[in-house]
């Protein structure tokens, strides 16, 4: 049934790069697992494995607590939200 497959086969990008530990200060590496509104992307969309998804979710929450990554981005905050140092 290979013809029916709509999407690309997903794989864990962190496994491919053999990531053992993710630093919460390195915001650029977290960007992949965050949506446009800075929500944590689900595993079914990113293809992350369980192990790395657990690591990522902890790290993103740390980064949020120290104001490196916003908790929410709404229409009101999107104007003032600092995107420049998050990329």
């Amino acid at each position: 049934m290979a013809e029916r497959r709509k999407y690309k086969k997903r794989y864990c990008k962190y496994c491919e790069a053999k990531v053992d530990f993710i630093d919460y200060k390195d915001v650029a590496s977290l960007r992949f697992s965050l949506s446009e509104r800075y929500k944590i992307m689900p595993r079914r969309l990113t293809g992350n494995c369980k192990r790395h998804q657990d690591m990522i979710s902890v790290v993103i929450k740390r980064a949020r607590a120290v104001a490196l990554v916003p908790y929410t981005v709404t229409r009101k905050t999107v104007v003032t939200a600092p995107f420049e140092n998050l990329r």
């Binding site: 053992d20 607590a65 120290v66 104001a67 939200a81 600092p82 420049e84 140092n85």
Partner: protein, 152 residues
């Protein structure tokens, strides 16, 4: 002795001297409690993702140290009393893998400090420019990231 990391955000409204004094006081809190600071990472003034106590910016300072677990409570208590600190985070590096990562981070921080001593006075001006000029900044940053990822 366990491996820890502390990130501290100091109020940006203070003058340069006051910021340095508060950081010296913070490190004094650590060392007086028997912690050994192995590396420091001055991230400098950068924009916060959301305002904390109506501050849009903050002075970030990271310290890597080893200490006894019982000391951490006292250190955090002292941090809460200090009004110049907007936010702090203590992170424990416990497992073998995490300690290896800690060693790497320490090495990285030490090499950055030696190669490019952070000039805090000039860093302030840079931040102001970045906020105004957004378009070319992304291009410049990509180059910078490869060399010194934390400098931004």
């Amino acid at each position: 002795m366990r491996h820890y990391e502390n990130l501290v955000i100091v109020k940006p409204t203070l003058t340069q001297e006051e910021i340095e004094n508060t950081i010296a006081a913070i490190e004094d809190v650590l060392t007086s409690n028997g912690a050994e600071i192995t590396a420091r990472d001055k991230m400098g003034i950068r924009k916060l993702a959301y305002p904390i106590q109506k501050n849009e910016r903050g002075y970030f300072h990271v310290m890597y140290y080893t200490a006894k677990p019982s000391v951490i409570g006292e250190i955090e208590r002292r941090f809460r009393i200090n009004e110049a600190i907007l936010r702090f985070a203590t992170i424990k590096y416990d497992s073998k893998r995490e300690i290896a990562a800690w060693d790497k981070l320490v090495q990285k921080a030490n090499t950055i400090n030696k190669s490019t001593p952070v000039q805090a006075s000039s860093a302030e001006e840079v931040v102001v420019e970045e906020t105004i000029v957004t378009a070319p900044e992304t291009v410049v940053e990509e180059v910078v990231v490869q060399e010194t990822p934390i400098q931004e």
